[in-house]
Symmetry: C2
Subunit: 696 residues, 2 copies
């Protein structure tokens, strides 16, 4: 029973040859406090999976009222082989059979089989990455040592994958639960147990030693590069992709930052505007003609349009290299089990030949078009409505204040803002729930498709919420100085606020409110340490991080031509952001499960869409720029003709962007070759294989 | 030696079991005129390919001065097995060893191996289409009968593929040719022979009986549906895709045609304009407000924007079904031999492991970006320049005529037009050669890539040439009535001219000039009949046909809102076009080789791009429409604001089109499933196969 904690002793070591499952009390000396008959790892059925050391991967927290018979049954299910409807994992009951936790680990065979099912690529003996195959496992490098072969994040995700995939083979009553909780055939066990309150939480366990090493390499020093491979190893590819993108983006900001600095320094006009925007006074158009023909604004606008395209295309190439490196380029989610919440009529999947729920594609499309799109549109309309009411209210209140000029009317001045903030927040909360239900209703088969559709919905809304005011100022009020002022304040203030709310507050809460409740000492039993991790808040996901990047990318590409220092501010922000995000994910939250992913998913699309919208916005802002208007007036062009020219220029620029995006290949040459090679060999193999039955 | 003509006797029959290669003079009675020792099919090396009947597939025409020893050597090379550097085909020397033709056919094994190499899909015993595999041939339906298993077009293309792929294994002097024509190792034989004048022509032979059947089903009756499968069978998938698209497009025209008729009938305003446009007088804006708020133009514009997207998306779905049906959905051109003109350093292809010329991708990209794009841009500039000169010249000449008003000055009036026509034609010819050289210089590995890049270059130019005037009228002169007049005359006159030049003239030339030279009688030897096919002109390819469709699709989607009857005229035109094109390809030209293709290639993209441009053009034309301007004037909107509204509307419409295009899946559900299934099985097979060496 001491194995639950054995990992800490020689973490990262090799789960080597000695084949022994029995408790070895003499080893390490760190025994669990109350040794009892029930508290040891479940036995594995296949001989190759016997290992002396079992690494605790995932903690399952049971409800307070769960009886020992239910826990015993659950441990049995977790440990049973898959053909008997079990998860073929290893379970450890914690300190004793009546405790409220189960520690789960996974034997070698289960890990390897799941790695094949998920479509992970691993290093083949030839040195190339190839889709892992269980039968061919001996030809893959390190496939005898799970702690090297699979990353910690992969191992933990596989445990979750197996637990989530548990289904009842025949109608069943769970011991210790009332009749009403009968499980029907093919019910998802984990889902039912969660809704019955038996399982309260399932989360991956931190590995203190690895975490410490990672933190040292990541955020404690002055290092310029992030240890992305270690991040992928510890937190999984979803998190690693976020930090890779953040890294790539931050470095890419160098060019616009330098340009922005140069423009602010050399262009008198721009410098003046900068000062004005901070001091708050209106810009007075400089009427002497000594300025250069092409103003800093125009240079900045042209540059940011080209930069955003090149940046996105290069990132796509980097992203595909990373996905090759991390073995996620060939994920087989389509061919794996559907996500637990997926429903449909049971049938034979025509592709894989497995029995599973089927749901026709056209039905999903129909639901998206007829339900999701209109509902999302409605909410966007509500945002606009709110904004309009706000402006209307503000005008009314101002008028009132002008008429009355009393203390009461001055207080009234704040009412529209307050109401608008309350309205926006409420709307946001309602929308989040609606988006969740809509996506659930769309009934996506794959977890990633679900995530992407949910993210897309929230993203559109959040983005709209963030930019509606700026767009309103730019396109309707057409007030460039106000836009510049707003942008400057948003950049400086909101970034500061973000950093504070994101890091400082959780840090303080953690240090002064939560931490006292989980004073750990070296002598604490492992189980208590595990249980303590539950006191940390759940990791809220990467949505907030990504949207922050998207919003600042929006400031930069959409509006930076009115405020050239944007890139500089963002660069400074991001350099600290990398560290604070890293600190946060390492220390302030529970470790998240992270499925293997091949790219940023829907975020990629969002950034690309933004880079196209930036052309429209930049052209428009240039059109508004006083210098251009002045030039046109001198050239004798009517405002309609100028507008026509701008529209023409915008279309040409969009065309150029499309052509550039098409011409820069999304994958580096060597990746494309590897991919072709994979396809070719599997084509050959298919032809060979069909021959086998005839030959033998 | 009688076999060269045996096909005609029982064409389409089964090349069944009797295994005999010797000449059977008693059969059929249609002997070649001068029986001699040399004139029989070459022998095949493998027993399964023996067949009583050999079908003549391809005719090779030799130069006049080619000696019998060269011809004998060539026949030997054609007949030699591939391991000895031959093409493993069957060759027949025609009437005797000194004649100037070689008839080529292909034995079963060669056909099957090439079918695998090309990646053709055929019906498996399960009833699904699967990528054909030579080793697994017995499990494919009809794989013992080549005339059913492969289409005639495929068999002929395979002969060409093998001939084009002939390469010298070691340095070699061709018998009968001077020393200077030495072949170096790995030289392409067919290319060298062509440039040395030994091979003058290589073309597939018509099968008179099949052609007659096809013609009857295709264009001689009043049938509404085209026999697309038979077209694919006889002419190959490239031609069949063209006719499928023409068919689909023509049927799709029904809706806009009905709408156009309705609008012309019910909208008084439009009716008036129609009359005006034909009578040539200017439109007088109708000032009574009794007309509906939404004019026929607006309805037409909105409709044509949505119609073009839906049409293209549905065509994509149809296209993918057809490609599945015709077994071309999985072509493996990337893994086959590169095209003969492809050059590069010899090396091992990392994907297939074969030795072949290699050429880095980035070099090709660089050449495209740095050379091709600027050159094409230059030529487009020259077109614009020519047009500007034309307008300038016309203005000058008109002024001159006004000043002088003499007969000479009246004659001078025609000079600019004549000069412009001459200039445009010369430019077009030069451009065609330049485009060919540029694409050759880009050095594409695959034939289809070469074709697509060449087509794209010529297409852009031709399209520009066709539409520059209309765009000029619409966007610069902003003269809607003139545009309407021009469009009407273009539609009516140019379609008529097209039909005449495309069909009537070739028909007359064929009937009265060429035909007398090739009076055939039943008693003519087969060889003379084959040779006669050479007197027909070479099929000029589908470029002209596609560009005609593209240009009329352009008229329809870009400008139809000013002339609602466009769709009606096009519908009438296309119904005759189907028949005339079918007649033309069957009777007026040599049969073309047609590689198997999976879709329309670059034409697909061209139509899609056009459908996006149509949004811009329609929005613009609506803006120019007198009714809208009137409405705005009433509503008190300034022209700048109207323009802004239009630009905003345009962006929204483009967004809607993008979303629609993204939401309608490009493949029907069942095709996607089949594809997934193929991928899944080949993935499984790959895993199994890697295991084989270890197990056995």
């Amino acid at each position: 029973m001491s194995k639950a904690g054995a990992d800490e002793g020689g973490a990262g070591g090799c789960g080597d040859s000695a084949k022994q499952l029995e408790a070895k009390d003499e080893k390490g000396g760190k025994l669990l406090s109350k040794p009892s008959a029930g508290s040891s790892w479940t036995k594995v059925s296949c001989p190759c999976c016997f290992s002396e050391r079992v690494e605790p991967l995932v903690l399952v927290k049971l409800g307070g009222k769960v009886g020992p018979e239910t826990k015993r049954w659950l441990i049995k299910v977790i440990g049973a082989p898959q053909k008997d409807g079990g998860a073929a994992l290893l379970a450890h009951p914690g300190e004793d059979a009546s405790g409220d936790i189960i520690v789960v680990s996974a034997p070698r065979c289960t890990l390897l089989r799941a790695a094949e099912e998920l479509g992970l690529c691993k290093t083949y003996r030839s040195g190339d990455m190839e889709a892992f195959s269980y039968n061919d496992r001996d030809n893959f490098k390190d496939s005898d040592n799970m702690e090297v072969f699979l990353t910690l994040a992969e191992r933990q995700y596989i445990v979750k994958y197996e637990l989530d995939g548990l289904r009842v083979q025949r109608d069943l009553r769970i011991p210790g639960l009332p009749e009403s909780r009968m499980l029907q055939k093919r019910d998802n066990i984990w889902q039912k147990l969660s809704s019955a309150g038996v399982v309260v939480d399932t989360f991956p366990l931190h590995n203190r030693k690895k975490l410490k090493d990672l933190g040292e390499a990541w955020y404690s020093g002055n290092q310029l590069a992030q240890p992305l491979d270690s991040v992928n190893d510890y937190f999984g590819s979803a998190v690693a992709f976020y930090f890779s993108f953040l890294d790539f983006y931050t470095w890419s900001l160098l060019t616009p930052a330098i340009l922005g600095l140069a423009i602010s320094y050399f262009s008198g006009e721009v410098k003046k505007e900068m000062v004005d925007s901070v001091s708050g006074s209106k810009v007075i158009i400089n009427d002497d003609d000594s300025g250069p023909m092409i103003s800093g604004h125009m240079l900045q606008a042209m540059f940011s349009m080209i930069w955003s395209t090149v940046f996105m295309e290069l990132w796509k190439r980097r992203s595909s290299s990373l996905s090759y490196r991390w073995g996620t380029m060939n994920l087989a989610e389509r061919f794996a089990e559907p996500r637990p919440n997926f429903y449909g009529d049971l049938g034979v999947n025509p592709v894989t030949g497995r029995v599973e729920p089927l749901f026709p594609e056209w039905k999903r499309d129909l639901r998206m078009v007829l339900v999701s799109v209109p509902v999302v549109g409605l909410f966007l309309g509500l945002v606009v409505l709110g904004m309009m009411c706000f402006y209307w209210g503000e005008a009314q209140v101002k008028q009132l204040h002008k008429d009355w000029n009393s203390l009461l009317s001055q207080a009234l001045l704040y009412i529209p803002s307050v109401l608008h903030i309350v309205y926006t927040n409420m709307l946001g909360n309602v929308y989040r729930n609606v988006a969740q239900s809509l996506t659930e209703y769309e009934n996506h088969r794959e977890e990633s498709a679900f995530e992407n559709h949910l993210t897309a919905k929230i993203l559109v809304f959040t983005f709209f919420n963030n930019f509606a005011v700026l767009f309103h100022i730019a396109f309707f009020k057409q007030d460039v100085p106000l836009l510049r002022k707003r942008l400057a304040s948003l950049l400086i203030v909101s970034q500061l606020v973000n950093q504070v709310t994101e890091v400082v507050i959780p840090f303080l809460v953690d240090r002064f409110i939560s931490a006292p409740h989980r004073t750990e000492s070296e002598d604490d039993p492992k189980e208590d340490k595990f249980r303590n991790q539950r006191t940390l808040p759940v990791f809220p996901g990467l949505f907030a991080e990504y949207i922050e990047l998207l919003v600042q990318f929006g400031y930069l590409s959409l509006f930076s031509c009115v405020y050239p220092l944007t890139a500089v501010l963002l660069l400074i922000n991001n350099i600290t952001e990398i560290r604070s995000d890293a600190y946060k994910i390492c220390n302030l939250f529970r470790k998240p499960f992270s499925p293997p992913v091949a790219n940023m998913g829907v975020w990629q699309v969002a950034f690309e869409v933004l880079s196209f919208v930036s052309v429209i916005s930049n052209c428009w802002l240039l059109l508004l720029s006083p210098r251009l208007q002045e030039l046109c007036r001198e050239g004798g062009l009517s405002s309609t003709n100028v507008l026509l020219l701008a529209v023409f220029g915008e279309h040409v620029l969009i065309l150029i962007k499309f052509i550039m995006a098409a011409l820069i290949p999304d994958e580096p040459d060597w990746i494309r070759k590897k991919r072709d090679q994979m396809e070719y060999t599997s084509m050959q193999a298919l032809k060979e294989q069909k021959l086998q039955p005839e030959v033998s």
